[in-house]
């Protein structure tokens, strides 16, 4: 409330002055704003949403949380920028005996941020926690495939599986945390190149370089992630010198970034942006209605109107960075055909269209822009859509957790580099199936994929699942967004990953 009052004061000031841009900040040292914080070797990054309430890596839900905490936590393996898994806390991971045995050797001398050395006990604690062997819910159901765990020595871990699991190693990226440490939610401790310093809810998260890091140490000493849940605020932060780096900008936003102070880099966001439809509520429980929306919306118009033509069209719940699983033939499964859309709507009993509500997290400008264009395009086939902007926390609670919504525009990403991470969420009884997708064939295919131990065959089954989502129009799949990143000049090393992370350890200020 207080924040809103402040925001209003600011707004009132702005309105009376006929919108003279003025930034609320000024807290950050502004000296030499053009050089950013190169002198003190620190960095301020603007993020559009606050992190999850709990920072416990095993419970984190939001992509935005993983993006930040990627720098704090590591698993036995971790993804590199090409999507390969490289050893982290493990020194080596070997899959033997046709995939039924995974032999892991721990790296020696890896330190936690609290100074303790990572021991087999910590690894087992973390493993049991995510696979549900501690008696609680399995946080990573994929790891329940592990039959027995053996520790031949203090540095060797052997996982035995009843059947081979081609994807199992991809899940060995779960964070290793200190055994029996209970304050993970508020004072997280990991092994990554940065250690957690403090968090002020809705304001900032501060990380500091971890000098006992086992691998190549980070360059920048102190990194602050400033939460600015307002697209304009992020841009003003860049202009005023309060921020050094902002990612996930839209093309329009990027266009107004001062190019004399910032470089613009373009990657992909690696997520599936869609108009996600709640398959359990009317009228979206009728497949014809969902298909009508897919036929009735010209997705190229969305790209050209809201994103200057940038972005990659998608036709299912998979994005191109997953080269192995991505099926481009689904991209244009539904060609723009308003006549057919109206026909399908009439068949479904809505000859004059219907009214619908799109719930959108208002802090994400790309999703808001997409929704605004969607309203326009849906109007052409007689569907009267209304936007309901909500705050991020409300979105997580109402849409994602309680599934109390009609439709929403959001991007869904993968927490690990597996097809399962993208596709399991639409299995009818899966806990995070927020669109309430219910398709027996899909459930059967997923079970089949889990029991297929040949990589090529499993990939084929996953592709069938993608096709199932497309054919049944589970949602109106739109695009993988272009990721525009504004980076202050002098700051180098930005890397794009095929997963949704921001690798701060790779960044450094040019020597001055």
């Amino acid at each position: 409330m207080l924040k809103r009052a402040l925001a209003f004061l600011l707004a009132a000031l702005l309105l009376t002055l006929a919108a003279c841009g003025k930034h609320e900040g000024g807290k950050e040292p502004d000296a030499g704003a053009d050089a950013g914080r190169a002198g003190e070797n620190s960095l301020v990054i603007g993020v559009a949403q606050d992190l999850d309430e709990s920072l416990d890596p095993h419970y984190a839900v939001a992509a935005g949380t993983r993006e930040v905490m990627f720098n704090v936590f590591e698993g036995l393996l971790k993804p590199d920028r090409n999507g390969n898994l490289v050893p982290a806390i493990a020194e080596s991971v070997n899959v033997e005996e046709n995939g039924t045995v995974v032999k892991i050797t721990l790296r020696s001398g890896v330190k936690f941020h609290n100074g303790a050395t990572v021991t087999m006990r910590d690894v087992l604690y973390s493993l049991d926690r995510v696979r549900g062997a501690d008696g609680k819910e399995a946080l990573l159901p994929a790891l329940t495939a592990i039959d027995t765990v053996e520790t031949p020595s203090d540095a060797e871990l052997v996982l035995r599986l009843a059947e081979a699991q081609p994807e199992l190693t991809s899940y060995l990226t779960f964070a290793i945390i200190p055994a029996d440490y209970t304050e993970q939610a508020t004072k997280p401790v990991g092994t990554g190149p940065y250690r957690f310093v403090e968090r002020v809810v809705l304001e900032r998260v501060v990380l500091e370089r971890f000098d006992d890091y086992w691998g190549e140490k980070a360059s920048i000493e102190r990194v602050t992630f400033r939460v600015i849940e307002n697209a304009e605020g992020l841009l003003l932060g860049l202009q005023s010198g309060a921020l050094d780096l902002v990612n996930h900008l839209t093309v329009t936003q990027a266009a107004s970034v001062d190019k004399t102070k910032f470089d613009l880099e373009e990657g992909t966001m690696n997520l599936v942006q869609a108009l996600y439809l709640n398959n359990a509520v009317k009228p979206f429980d009728d497949v014809r209605v969902r298909q009508a929306l897919c036929y009735g919306v010209d997705r190229n118009e969305i790209l050209s109107l809201a994103f200057d033509g940038r972005g990659t069209l998608l036709g299912s719940s998979m994005y191109p960075a997953f080269t192995k699983y991505f099926d481009d033939s689904l991209t244009n499964y539904y060609t723009y055909d308003p006549a057919k859309a109206k026909e399908l709507l009439a068949e479904a009993g809505y000859p004059d269209g219907f009214e619908m509500k799109i719930t959108v997290p208002s802090n994400y400008q790309p999703h808001m822009d997409t929704a605004e264009v969607l309203v326009q395009l849906l109007g052409k086939i007689g569907v009267k859509a209304k936007i309901e902007p909500v705050e991020w926390s409300v979105w997580v609670d109402r849409v994602y957790t309680k599934r109390d919504f009609e439709s929403t525009v959001i991007g869904v990403d993968a927490s690990s580099m597996t097809a399962r991470a993208m596709l399991e969420r639409f299995v009818s009884d899966y806990g995070k199936n927020f669109i309430n997708y219910k398709n027996d064939e899909y459930d059967r295919l997923f079970a089949e994929a889990q029991n297929t131990f040949d990589d090529a065959q499993q990939t084929a089954v996953y592709k069938k699942m993608e096709r199932n989502l497309t054919e049944n129009a589970a949602s109106l799949y739109i695009q993988d967004l272009a990721d525009m990143v504004a980076v202050r000049k002098g700051l180098t090393g930005l890397r794009f990953y095929p997963v949704y992370v921001l690798d701060v350890a790779a960044l450094s200020w040019d020597a001055q």
Binding site: A12, L15, E232, L236, Q239, A306, S362, Q376
Partner: protein, 271 residues
């Protein structure tokens, strides 16, 4: 009348005339906007994004290629109508409550006045936010929310006027002639309170315009893609360097509406 007073009256007339002219212009703009806009305010066009003002697009176009002039017309309509509704509802209830409490005094007066003071203790917009969080965002919800928030300010002005007049000889003589309380309040006192009530209403109106714009600026008033001045301003703010005409055109119309009514009220006060 002495000379200085004549001079003063003349100066006020200028305020009144300027205010009336500006207000009339804004109202005309609003009224026309209700029935006619040069372009479809919602039509997007990828080929005409962020164009500077030309004869085709008087105020230029926005990031979706929509005609800003048409959107400003629609936005002004929603802002002004919300503000009018706010003043009618808030003013109606507030003035009535103030009249009753001021005229009769007593316990009801004490209770209602304290209640009003309590509401006033919260900034008007916070009260409005609370109401919106109960009713949900949207145009008429904002009008109700603001009306509730504005009631105490009208109530106070009207209470003071009525309390001040009720012991005056003309009121007492009207009562002695057998006029009812309602009759006295409506026919005798109300006309005499107009000099203080009218400015209160006009100031209330310009506050309501600003508050509505402020609330849509924060994204809790009119929701996109419907046009509203506040939301457009917040959008324009991020593109100040890229499309300055966007912020300027929305801001200018908003300024004209607030300034016009403000001047009008100022002129009325001593006219």
């Amino acid at each position: 009348m002495s000379d200085p007073k004549v001079k003063k009256a003349k100066k006020h007339n200028i305020l009144l005339i300027a205010g009336a002219a500006l207000t009339l212009a804004v109202l005309l703009f609003t009224f026309v906007g209700a029935f006619y806009t040069p372009r479809d305010p919602d039509a997007m066009n990828a080929a005409e994004k962020l164009l500077p003002p030309t004869l085709n697009h008087l105020f230029g176009t926005d990031k979706f290629g929509r005609d800003i002039f048409s959107r400003v017309m629609k936005g002004t309509l929603s802002t002004v109508s919300t503000a009018l509704l706010t003043v009618l509802a808030g003013g109606g209830v507030g003035i009535l409550a103030g009249a009753v409490t001021g005229y009769f005094g007593g316990k009801a007066d004490a209770v209602l006045t304290r209640l009003g003071d309590t509401v006033t203790a919260f900034p008007a917009v916070l009260t409005a936010l609370l109401v919106v969080s109960l009713l949900g965002p949207g145009g008429w919800q904002v009008a109700i929310a603001l009306a509730v928030a504005f009631i105490p300010s009208f109530m106070r002005v009207s209470r003071v006027s009525f309390a001040g007049q009720r012991r005056l000889p003309y009121v007492i003589s009207a009562r002695l002639q057998g006029a009812s309380h309602a009759g006295v309040m409506l026919r005798h006192i109300l006309p005499n309170t107009l000099p203080s009530l009218l400015p209160a209403l006009t100031i209330g109106f310009s506050n309501a315009v600003l508050a509505e714009a402020g609330m849509s600026y924060l994204g809790i008033g009119v929701t996109p893609p419907d046009a509203s001045l506040g939301y457009m301003l917040s959008e324009a703010q991020g593109m100040l360097a890229l499309a300055p005409w966007y912020a300027v055109s929305c801001g200018a119309v908003l300024l004209a509406a607030v300034l016009g009514v403000g001047l009008l009220g100022e002129g009325l006060k001593d006219a």
